[in-house]
Structure formats: C-alpha cells, structure tokens
Amino acid sequence: MDEEKPVKAKHARWLLAELPAWEAEGLLSPGQAEALRLRYVPAAGGRNWATTLFFIAGLLVAGLGIVLILAHNWEELSRPLRAALALAPFLPALGLGYFALWKRPESPLFREGAGALLATAVAASIALVGQTYQFPGDEWSYLRTCLILIIPSAYVLRSAAAAVAAFLCLIAMTSTLSPGQGHHLQFYLLLAATLGYLFLVSRTNRHGAQAAVLSWAAALCLAFTLNAVVGPYRARLTSTFLFAAMVCLGRTRFSGAPDFWRRGFEIVGGCGIVLGMLIFDSIGGKPLDWSTVLRLSPADMWSVGTAGALLALAVLLWLDGLRAHDAVAGLFGAAWLAEIAAQTIWSSSGDQDWVIVIHSIYHLVLGAGLVWTGTRAHSLGRVNVGSLILIILVLFRFFDQDFSFVARGVAFLAAGAGFILLHLWARRRLGDAS
C-alpha cells in the first residue's frame, strides 16, 4: 500500500467523518475506505505542541523566579553556600528528566519540559559558579561548556527544546567566530553534533512538529553563524550560496509538508535570497577581488573552506532539484549562479550598477517564473509569492533611485494594483481550471 501522507488534523477529521457516508452511498467500497483511513493521517503538532510550549514556558518562568530569589541576598551568603546553591537548578531538571524517562517515556510533554529545564539549569548553574569565583568574561568558554552538556541532553531526552537551546548557544557564539580567531574546528564539531539531532528526527518523521521546529532553528542558526565564520568580505557570496542550498534542501528532503509553517529551510532560504541580494545592493561596498576571496592563508582557511563547501552544497542540491523537476528549487537554487556572475562582472568592470542589473533580472525571472509555474501547477500560494517578489523588487528599486515622492507614489500604487489584479486573475484562472 502507499505510504502515509500526513495532512492537517482538521482535514483528517473531516475525511474520517465523511467516509462512512460515502460507504453507505456506495461511492466507495469498505476496502477503499479503509485504505483512505490508513493513507491520510493527521500531522503531529498543533494542539499537542501548544500544550507542550505552555508547559515549558511555565517551568522556565518558575525556574527564573527561583534564581531571582537566590540572587536577591546572594552576596550575604558564604562562598561555599553560594557554590552549593549554584547546583540547585539541576535538582528539578534532573528530577523531571528521571520522571520523563522512567515513568512517562512516550509523553513528549515531560521530555520536552525536562530538556528545556536542563538546558536552563546548565546555563544558570555555570553562570552562578562563574559569578561566585569571579570567572573571566570568556564568552566562548562559557558557551562551549554549556553546549557540551546541552547537546547530549537533546539526544538522551529526545527533546527538541534542548536542541533549540543548543542552536541558540551556537548563535550566541557568533561574536567569537570572526576569521582568524581560532575556534572554528570546535565550533563546527558542536554544530555538526547539534545538526545530527535534526538528522535523526527527520529520518523518523520529517513532517512532524519536532522536525519542523528544528528546521527553523537550524536554518536561522546557520544563517547567523556561517556568515560570521566567513567574515564580512565573503559574506555577500556565501550567504547566497547558503540560502540557495536551504531552499533546495527544503524542497528535496522535506517536501510534502502539510503546513506552510513546517517549511523552515524553504522560508528562511527564500527570504534570505530575495531580501539579501536587494539589501546588499542598497548597502553597496567594494567589488570582490577574486584573488583575495580565494586566498588560502592560514587565517583564511576556514573562511574559504566554508565558502567552498556552501557552494558545492548549493550546486549539488540545485541539481537534485532540477532532476526532480522542481521548479521552485530550480528557480531559487540558481541564485548562486546569479551571484557569481554579478560579482565577477562588477569585479572586472568596476561598475556596481552591473550587480544591480543582474540581481534585478534574477528577481524578475524568479518572480515571473513562480507566477507562471504556479499557474500551471494550480498553486495560488506560489503565484502570490511570485508576484510578491516582483513587488518587492519594484519597491527596492524605486527606493534606490532619486525619484520624487509623486513618482514613487505612482509606482507603488501601480505595483499594489498589479499585485491585486494578478491575484484575482490567478484565483479566477485556477478556479476555472479546477
């Protein structure tokens, strides 16, 4: 029989409610009705995760309250007593973890709560010990110690909350990651260990709520941290490579998600490509010198290596998307090609206007391509995204130039009216087609 297809819970409930009537009317045989029941299952998430999130929030607020009470008379306490109290946050966290694994192993509520509480306890405890013994302000060491304890707790407790805390610690490390600072190997090992949990979860259920939450956290973490590793000089290139890879990864490895909010890689990657190129055009700067970009000095090795790995990933995933005849992956994934072309022409001509022209052509093709393929695929959402990209392009270009307020007002009115008309046309056409 075909594999399960997760759908929104309300759609699954509707189908289950309708099937008996269809059987009674002779529209479906009992075997066919049973096949449909087995095929279309409710996607995990929604109400269950809302309960879990509130539970975690309540635990964290209560935990912070305890820390604040302790902090009030902190300096009145002796040093050994302060040291002992610094371990106190672990008691409820480990207690809840024990309860979750021994008494309620199948309940995500307690596992997630334990993971969140344990991550908070690690961070709070080490900070309190540091304050008691006047540790230096070494952010890197503090975050690394936290990660060494938080990452295993994600695996052991099967907790997305702990993994999200790990991603947040990695983002916090951004300020310590500029080229030449020397922590890169350790950072990449910690990042790989955290991404490994997302990999495990997606193998079990790539459309589940855990995978969805983790894909958002991973996408945002990669966007912040990898650009810090490569440094500002190469970030213009590598951010495009990274976002293109994200869109293609989302389309090829996490395809078929029933809800829009589960597509973290696609959304972060898509927004990064569309907005990133346009924002960089507004900021301006110097043209890239390819000999500098590709320089392999000891201080640049991690930066160049990261840029090369991201380019390779973007190309491979783009080819995957093309092989799968995925128009969205094909269009967004081509961003790496457009960026290399733009930077090369700017570098050789010295005229930044070429970058703006090539980016504009790319956005035009991207937006129009999404509208056209969305119409053919009967996807109103894709049509809207395509026309939104075209509007954003118009807005950015008109903000860039020295037009009068009247001219800009007219342009924005035209763009807005065009968007509305296009949307109405698409709805009508897709409605006629269906």
């Binding site: 902190w74 300096e75 040093r79 050994p80 040291a83 610094a86 371990l87 672990f90 480990l94 973890g97 024990y98 694994l101 021994w102 344990l118 306890a121 690690v122 405890s125 080490i126 010990v129 304050q131 008691t132 013994y133 006047q134 230096p136 302000g137 070494d138 110690t145 060494i148 304890l149 295993p152 707790s153 695996y155 052991v156 407790l157 020397g182």
Partner: protein, 186 residues
C-alpha cells in the same frame, strides 16, 4: 535498564560533575594557592562599573619577552610573577612552557610594545558586585581613586598557573565593605 536510561544517568553525573569540578578547583586554589596583590588602574573613571561587575585593569600588565622567544598578538604564554618589597606584585617575563619552581599566570599576549615588552591580557578582568550596591559605590570608587589618590589592588591566589580572584581592596578595605559604606552615606 535501557541504554537511554543509562545514558541519562551518565548525563546527570556529567551535569553535576562539571560545575562541581569548577568549584573544587577554584576552592583548592583559594585554600592552597599563594596570595599576590596586583595594583589596579581605573580605565574609564566615568564608568568603572559595567552592569553587575567591576571591570578590572592591571596597572602593570606588561612583561619582558626573552630573546629568541617568538610571540605575537593572540598567543598564549606564561607570565612569571614576582612580589615587590611593598607587598605588591608584577609580571617579570614570559615563558612558553610553565615553570616548575616559580609562581606564574597563564596569559594571552595583547600586543608587542615598542620597547619589546608584551602587553598581556590576564584571566582576571572582572569582579562581580551586587547591582544594588553598584550605583552608589560607583561614584565613591571613582572619587577615591582620582581625587583622593587611593590605591586599589586585586588579591589573587595562584596555584600552578591557575589564578583565582579572591578580593579587590581599596586602601585596605574590602571593596564589598567599601561599596556598602558608600551606599549607606549616599
């Protein structure tokens, strides 16, 4: 017992062992380490207190670089510590390996000065102070150091290169006591 439960028990042990280990090491250094007084320098008289801690800057934070020793900014090294006749201490010279028979601190080279000495960054850059006391003590501390020319120094315990900040003194008064008195008079 399943593998996951066994891993949880290991994780719990690790979570407790890491902070306990930090506490143990620092308590050992405070109990068995040798005390040295390092004169402090105020860097920004308008804001010596940042947030919940006092930013410390050693008055004498340079050390001689032995001939033949390759140093550059960012490199870690070991700075020998020597006590003066007046009870204060300073750094004498750098070593690439920890010495066996002299007190030292593990430092990082910030820059090389024109006279060939190395400007050092020590692992003692802050002293935590309760935020309630900080606002009132801030002004008194800056006034004491600038107008009254009072001396301040950090009491540091050294044990096998590990440096633990025990206290900050202002003319023989513990900084915490000094801050309380300043808060009471303001």
């Amino acid at each position: 017992m399943t593998l996951r439960k066994a891993c949880f028990l290991l994780l719990a042990a690790a979570c407790l062992a890491v902070p306990l280990g930090m506490v143990g090491m620092h308590e050992w250094a405070l109990t068995h380490g040798q005390a040295f007084n390092f004169p402090l320098q105020i860097v920004d008289p308008a804001d010596p207190f940042r947030g919940r801690y006092l930013a410390l800057n050693f008055k004498y934070s340079t050390a001689a670089v032995p001939e033949g020793m390759a140093v550059r900014p960012g490199v870690e090294a070991y700075a020998l510590v020597q006590e003066d006749g007046d009870g204060m201490s300073h750094f004498t010279e750098l070593r690439q390996e920890p010495p066996a028979d002299q007190p030292y601190i593990k430092v990082k080279v910030r820059r090389i000065l024109k006279d060939g000495r190395a400007d050092l960054k020590t692992p003692l850059d802050r002293f935590y102070l309760n935020e309630r006391l900080a606002p009132a003590a801030e002004k008194a501390y800056a006034r004491a150091l600038r107008q009254d020319k009072r001396e301040a120094w950090a009491v540091v315990r050294l044990w096998r290169g590990m440096a633990v900040l025990e206290d900050v003194m202002v003319e023989g008064t513990h900084l915490l006591q000094f801050a309380r008195e300043a808060a009471a008079t303001n």
